[in-house]
């Protein structure tokens, strides 16, 4: 039962990532694309954690934590650039 639920969840998160890529390509303005990138890295954390569960190893969790930190910094830098025209004033 757990393997089946894991496969269903992996499918759902992959469909969510595909919808994020659709918004990343289509998005009419720049903040839409930044928001799509933000959601895409959050879904990538989910996929990495699901990969770690299905392989039975904890090795990938540090990668997920690193993606969480770096993705937040990237989103803040891009939003700051969109608002001010420069990242560090």
């Amino acid at each position: 039962m757990m393997t089946f639920a894991l496969q269903i969840t992996i499918g759902m998160v992959i469909i969510a990532a595909i919808l994020n890529v659709y918004r990343l390509i289509k998005g009419p303005d720049a903040p839409d694309r930044v928001l799509a990138l933000d959601t895409l890295y959050i879904n990538t954390i989910g996929l990495i954690v699901l990969l770690g569960i299905s392989l039975g190893t904890r090795m990938y969790l540090e990668g997920a934590l690193l993606i969480a930190v770096m993705g937040f910094i990237g989103t803040v830098a891009l939003a700051k650039y969109l608002k001010r025209g420069s990242v560090i004033e």
Binding site: L19, L35, T39
Partner: protein
């Protein structure tokens, strides 16, 4: 594997997949940027938090002892999602992106 832990993990996994899918559908289908901001910042955060906590239940029930790195990821996501949403909304307002017609104006004083 303990059956109670297995049921809890299956429930957390399905909840997480459902909420992240709902957030992505909201990001793809809602009409303008300000409404689109709702999907990823709330639904996707809860979904990925549930998936990461399912991972914590899985590795905790194998008898290797509890570690807190998953809890660290969840807490970090829950802290940073509103901050990045606030930054993006301020950037969009600064760029002058017009809202959807039905959410324009002060509809509360009529």
């Amino acid at each position: 594997m303990n059956p109670i832990a297995e049921y809890a993990m299956v429930a957390l996994l399905l909840t997480g997949g459902f909420f992240s899918l709902v957030g992505a559908i909201g990001l793809a289908r809602l009409p303008d940027f300000y409404t689109r901001l709702h999907g990823p910042t709330k639904a996707t955060t809860v979904g990925i938090g549930a998936i990461v906590i399912a991972s914590m239940v899985f590795f905790g029930s194998r008898g290797e002892g509890l570690e807190i790195s998953e809890l660290l990821i969840t807490v970090f996501l829950f802290i940073t999602a509103p901050i990045s949403a606030n930054f993006l909304a301020k950037a969009a307002m600064h760029m002058g992106i017009v809202p959807f017609e039905e959410t324009r104006g002060n509809t509360w004083d009529q």
